[in-house]
């Protein structure tokens, strides 16, 4: 008997009992679907983080406000903007490892161009911001010195905002848009950096303070919400960080022993750590999903054992008519394999659909690669072979005479 005949007999047998066949496959379907989904979501999350790490730029330090004390009471981090534009100047001038630095304040607002509008992040900063993040222009120019100094009514758009406000083919450069009733001229459009980064509009820091965000009570004329700084070389990150900390403590007159009112962070390093965590969680989930594959395998074994018992007489007849032990084994092994392969294929379909639905509904990035699908299918074949072997072996070992006597 050939493998092909084995599969034909298996399909014939499984078709006779469709409900049972489907129920038997269900465990494998669920197992494979969850493995594919977890893989897709896990690798999607990793892709997203990698993109974020790339978008921050290489060798970037980020300085955020820290805890402050007011009348001996510790206020929570960021409750007061502790950094100023002169801090940015000092970092740039006094620390040789720093190539570029910029302070930013940010908020959200609606941007309007003719009949189109879009809610986005408004970031007030200096041209240094783009240097720190290695962020090139797709078209147009950065802010000029006089615009930065004199609160110029100009704006540089991220590609998402440009896409939302302007029709394809329309040239945004020179166009007038409005943010909180203030008309601004579009002077530049930034390159794409990633979906999470491109949804932003940059204005000069002075413009932001004077015209939009300055009214917020916690902003005084000189302060910035955060500072980003670019370090010249990878090996200088730790040194530059210590120097910034020392400089800011000195400038903010923080006595020895008291907590800093700022925090210097290496976002890329933090995200890499996060990426490791995601990988661990994803592996854990795959392990859990594999358990359902195992349960699926056991249910196949269970049904196969029942089926062998039910079909003892058939086995006896086949043996009497010349079926060899290995023919009987092949027949039942093929049944288990068909169940697993079919279940695996349905599971892959379900997993792909599920992760695409999740991607659409939750807005997550998912990534389905052939490797994960191949792995899931290989798993289900292995499950079929492992859990199908015992019942098939049992069937082949039946004595034909005894088997013919059973009812």
């Amino acid at each position: 008997m050939t493998m092909l005949q084995g599969f034909q007999i298996a399909l014939h047998a499984l078709r006779l009992n469709p409900l049972r066949s489907i129920l038997t496959m269900l465990g494998i379907v669920i197992g494979v679907a969850s493995i594919v989904t977890v893989f897709a979501i896990g690798s999607g999350a990793q892709l997203r983080l990698q993109e974020q790490i790339r978008s921050i730029g290489a060798n970037v330090l980020m300085i955020n406000p820290g805890a402050v004390y007011q009348g001996g009471v510790r206020l929570k981090d960021g409750s007061k903007l502790t950094m100023t534009e002169s801090d940015v100047q000092a970092i740039l001038e006094q620390i040789p490892e720093i190539q570029a630095a910029a302070g930013s304040i940010a908020g959200t607002a609606q941007v309007i161009h003719e009949s189109k509008n879009w809610n986005t992040t408004i970031n007030g900063t200096t041209t240094g911001h783009f240097m720190v993040r290695d962020w090139q222009l797709a078209t147009g120019r950065y802010f000029s010195g006089s615009e930065e100094a004199g609160a110029g009514k100009v704006v540089i758009l991220g590609s998402t905002v440009a896409h939302e406000l302007f029709a394809p083919g329309e040239d945004p450069i020179g166009a007038q848009i409005r943010i909180m009733k203030v008309p601004l001229e579009v002077v530049g459009i930034l390159d794409r950096k990633g979906p999470a980064q491109d949804d932003v509009a940059f204005v000069p820091l002075t413009t932001a303070k004077l015209r939009f965000l300055g009214s917020a009570s916690n902003i005084n004329r000189d302060s910035v919400a955060y500072i980003i700084a670019k370090v010249a070389a990878d090996g200088q990150m730790a040194g530059a960080r210590t120097e910034i900390e020392n400089l800011l403590r000195q400038r903010h007159r923080i006595p020895a022993g008291q907590e800093d009112d700022f925090k210097v962070q290496d976002p890329a390093a933090a995200m890499e750590a996060q990426q490791g965590a995601i990988r661990t969680v994803a592996l854990l989930l795959v392990a859990i999903a594999s358990v359902s594959l195992l349960v699926g395998g056991i249910s196949i074994m269970n049904v196969m054992i029942v089926s062998v018992t039910e079909r003892t007489r058939e086995i006896g007849i086949r043996r009497a008519l010349g079926g060899r032990m290995r023919d009987i084994r092949l027949q039942f092994l093929c049944e288990a394999l068909v169940l697993c392969l079919l279940g695996g294929a349905i599971g892959v379909g379900a997993g792909v659909t599920l992760s695409m639905t999740v991607a659409r509904m939750a807005g997550w990035i998912t990534s389905i690669d052939g490797q994960a699908i191949g792995l899931a299918l290989a798993f289900s074949i292995a499950t079929g072979l492992i859990f199908g072997f015992y019942p098939a072996h049992k069937a082949s070992k039946l004595s034909p005479i005894e088997a013919l006597k059973t009812e």
Partner: protein, 241 residues
């Protein structure tokens, strides 16, 4: 070398079952030959070892003692796989309870032994149709066993036994489940087959059926008690005892 070998030769064959430490000898020191073209009835009371003997002739079972030769070859020397393929090609079984596969139709049932001979599906079905034709059942080729009467099922089972042109057809009480008229029809079918040269061994309880066979072997308590060849003796075997 030149003396023709008997088709089947049993030499002091015994078969002992051991169940829970109790030994039951179902067949005891039995010796006889079966020549090509014979039709042999095996008789004996229930439990006398007829089916056990039949299983050994059909290579489903092996003697505990003694030897059984098929065309001169000791079947105990053959591998399990070899005996299986001999069952597919050289032995045709007919059972009292037909033993058709309930979930396959008549023609698929008839074709089944050829699956184990490595024959393509197309040829299997063509030959199964011929075989059904020879038992007059071709008009029921696509019926399932439950849609057939007992006599019809037994005809399909006989077609299945014949499909690989076996050396020998072994029938264990083939008419036992049928009424006497249908039984007589089946018997006539066997007689017609035998006239074309088919070797047949048939277990039966019915002395009327046994007398229609030229030779009757009687068992009692596993032992051979009679081996009678009745007239008319065919001319070519007239020299035999």
């Amino acid at each position: 070398m030149t003396a023709p070998q008997p088709l089947i030769s049993l030499q002091s064959v015994s078969r002992t079952y051991r169940a829970d430490g109790v030994a039951v000898t179902a067949v005891r020191n039995v010796s006889f030959d079966i020549e090509r073209g014979e039709i042999v009835a095996v008789m004996g009371p229930s439990g006398s070892g007829k089916s056990t003997l039949m299983n050994m002739i059909g290579l489903l079972d092996l003697p505990s003692e003694g030897a059984l030769y098929l065309e001169g070859a000791d079947v105990a020397d053959l591998s399990e796989d070899h005996r299986s393929s001999l069952r597919a090609r050289s032995i045709g079984f007919v059972f009292q309870s037909y033993n058709l596969l309930a979930r396959h139709n008549a023609i698929e049932n008839v074709a089944l032994p050829l699956v184990y001979c490595g024959i393509s599906r197309k040829e299997r079905l063509a030959r199964a149709e011929q075989s059904l034709e020879s038992v007059g059942m071709v008009h029921r080729a696509h019926h399932f066993p439950r849609q057939l009467s007992g006599g019809e099922q037994q005809r399909v089972a006989i077609a299945r036994a014949l499909i690989a042109s076996p050396l020998i057809v072994l029938a264990d009480e083939p008419t036992g489940a049928l009424d006497s008229r249908t039984g007589a029809e089946i018997l006539a079918l066997f007689a017609a087959l035998n006239r074309t040269g088919q070797t047949i061994v048939m277990i039966t309880h019915d002395p009327g059926i046994a007398t229609q066979c030229r030779r009757t072997i009687r068992l009692h308590d596993g032992a051979l008690v009679a081996d009678e060849t009745l007239a008319p003796i065919p001319p070519e075997r007239s020299a035999a005892p």
